[in-house]
């Protein structure tokens, strides 16, 4: 970090202390959930700049617009695509493929969730899948809890598999310059392994007891998935653009473009195709509706957070912390990788993984000289990505998707209790991190 540019005193305080305290207060307020996280992050960012810890220009430089663009573009694409009914189609189709057998449905819905989470953001995925799950489990006459539990796990595991699956990966990919393909090559095998291993205890605890009558299974088998597609023209447009975007991600490195450019270009193309032939007034209405589905709270949360972390980084505090960590791990790459993997998993189970990763990225970057340069940090990046994404499974507050499912379950009168979920989820998350540790050790250390 350019600590030589840093301001040394703020309001008579040492800038490092001021930024450190502001950072801790920000973190505590985000965790407390008493104030909306976007308000907390943007207010803290404003304080960083107003207090003079960083200049306005450096604050803007600190915002990772690649992450912001990628998130916004994908949210807009999903907002349009979901109107076609394709996600319900996929869920019902998968359900019928296993003859509406309860355990088979749980596996298929978990796989669909993991697949969609790898390509879309996790919150959107669970918002699409949880209602179909409730519909199917009600028709089957079985409890929704095991299904929703498995979907929470699948969304976080699936999200870990790709660059665009989970915000931590987007941030890491953008900060380190990792491509979509890098994530597929390095994270997909690990995520697949964790997914398979996680399903075994779920089967043992719930799956083997799931039963449904022939009549109820017939009700589900009678569902006409083709009728879920409510707009075939939109379906073709959406899937074509989505396929182009995925292809673009895969080729981004070759064509020298950032993922955000591809996602935003895809969103612009889909908006154009969706609105062709409409009158200007209707176009405005439609574009407004699409943009209103973009999660601006999340976007502004990111922007604020980037500024806060950049301010903290500019004081040199993170370099000091990194030095302490390296002292603790003896500068050993294996020990450091394991410390990051397990530390980020435990932390992500109890705090939001986005601020955690935003803070850890510069921390790891500053370890480069110890390990012989940035190119030797790869095990640490994969450890951070795996820990932060999979750690979200450790408790209900570990990831936004978990809370979304819990809220939905509560409204559906099938509540997911914090304690009961954590008692089952935390050990299962630890199992997943154990698998990830073996993977990281065998592949990179």
């Amino acid at each position: 970090m350019h600590s030589e540019d840093a301001v040394h005193m703020v309001f008579g305080w040492d800038a490092m202390w001021f930024a450190g305290i502001l950072f801790v207060v920000t973190y505590v307020l985000i965790m407390s959930e008493k104030i909306n996280r976007a308000i907390v992050a943007t207010s803290a960012a404003a304080l960083m700049v107003l207090a003079g810890v960083i200049s306005e220009q450096r604050a803007i430089d600190g915002v990772d617009f690649n992450t912001i663009g990628l998130l916004t573009g994908m949210m807009a694409i999903v907002a349009i695509t979901r109107r076609s009914g394709v996600f319900q189609y996929l869920a019902v189709w998968a359900t019928k493929k296993v003859n509406a057998e309860p355990w088979g449905i749980l596996v298929m819905l978990a796989l669909v969730t993991a697949f969609l989470s790898a390509l879309l953001d996790n919150v959107t995925t669970v918002l699409l899948i949880a209602p179909v799950t409730l519909l199917i489990t009600e028709a089957l006459g079985v409890k929704a809890y095991p299904y929703l539990f498995a979907e929470i796990f699948a969304s976080n595991i699936g999200g870990a598999a790709t660059l665009i699956g989970d915000p931590p990966n987007i941030m890491i990919g953008s900060a380190v310059g990792l491509s979509f393909n890098d994530f597929v090559i390095h994270m997909l095998p690990a995520a697949s392994l964790v997914m398979v291993v996680s399903m075994l205890p779920i089967y043992w605890v719930w799956g083997r007891h799931l039963q449904a009558s022939e009549e109820n299974r017939r009700r589900v088998m009678n569902y006409r998935e083709r009728d879920a597609i409510t707009d075939r023209v939109l379906l073709i447009k959406s899937l074509s653009v989505l396929a182009l975007v995925i292809l673009g991600f895969a080729m981004a490195h070759t064509i020298g473009k950032q993922p955000s450019t591809i996602a935003l270009a895809g969103a612009a193309l889909l908006l154009l195709l969706d609105n062709l032939g409409r009158k200007p007034a209707k176009q405005t209405e439609s574009v407004h509706a699409t943009f209103s589905e973009v999660e601006w709270v999340t976007i502004f949360f990111f922007i604020g957070l980037f500024v806060v972390v950049h301010g903290l980084e500019s004081t040199g505090l993170l370099t000091l912390v990194a030095g302490e960590i390296l002292t603790l791990t003896g500068g050993d790459l294996t020990v450091t990788a394991m410390a990051i993997l397990w530390g980020s998993a435990i932390a992500s189970a109890v705090v939001d993984n986005i601020p955690f990763v935003a803070t850890t990225i510069p921390l790891i970057k500053s370890m480069a000289p110890t390990f012989g340069g940035a190119e030797h940090l790869m095990p640490l990046w994969w450890s951070l990505a795996l820990g932060a994404c999979l750690g979200g499974n450790g408790s209900l507050v570990g990831a936004s998707a978990n809370l979304i499912v819990a809220g939905f379950a509560e409204r559906s009168r099938q509540p997911i209790g914090f304690i009961s979920f954590t008692l089952a989820a935390f050990p299962l998350m630890i199992l997943g991190i154990g698998v990830a540790s073996v993977y990281v050790y065998l592949r990179y250390l």
């Binding site: 009914g85 319900q88 189609y89 019902v92 918002l127 209602p131 179909v132 409730l134 519909l135 009600e138 028709a139 009700r219 009678n222 569902y223 006409r224 998935e225 083709r226 009728d227 879920a228 409510t230 939905f408 409204r411 559906s412 009168r413």
Partner: protein, 153 residues
């Protein structure tokens, strides 16, 4: 000033807190009520229970829950499936299903404001009084209509 009390029915049919869904269904279907206020033993207003509540009960929960499915054209449930959902809850108390957030007016609410609430909620509106929210009447389209038409005589 003309208020809600001018156009309300001061003796509306009501459901009681202890009534079951089955009893409510019988009353609503017999008299073709759209919405009935629910009161406790002291006559305090608790919420409303109506034909829309019944419709909600017979539909799959996944389509009526907040942030649930917005469309479900692929679901092939028939009348018997809908009946089974209703039968499953007919012995349950209506209190579990009442709408506590339905718009209400007070007996002092100005006439136009009361009719505006009626216009926006598109169903009969309970009229309550005091901090205890004692039910004192209901405003329906028909009562309002007949009061307005009387002005021509």
């Amino acid at each position: 000033m003309m208020t809600a009390s001018l156009v309300m029915d001061p003796h509306p049919s009501v459901l009681h807190a202890g009534d079951t869904v089955g009893q409510a269904v019988k009353l609503i279907m017999e008299h073709r009520y759209r919405n009935l206020p629910v009161v406790d033993e002291q006559g305090r207003y608790l919420g409303v229970f109506g034909i829309n509540t019944l419709l909600r009960m017979v539909l799959p929960p996944a389509v009526v829950v907040e942030k649930g499915l917005t469309t479900a054209p692929f679901v092939t449930d028939g009348l018997h499936d809908l009946y089974l959902r209703l039968a499953a809850v007919e012995d349950r108390p209506i209190l579990e299903f009442i709408n506590e957030d339905a718009a209400v007016v007070t007996s002092d609410t100005p006439l136009v404001e009361s009719l505006l609430v009626l216009y926006r909620t598109r169903t009969s509106v309970p009229v309550v009084e005091g901090e205890e929210r004692r039910l004192v009447g209901m405003i329906s389209y028909w009562d309002v209509g007949s009061h307005i038409l009387e002005q021509g005589h």
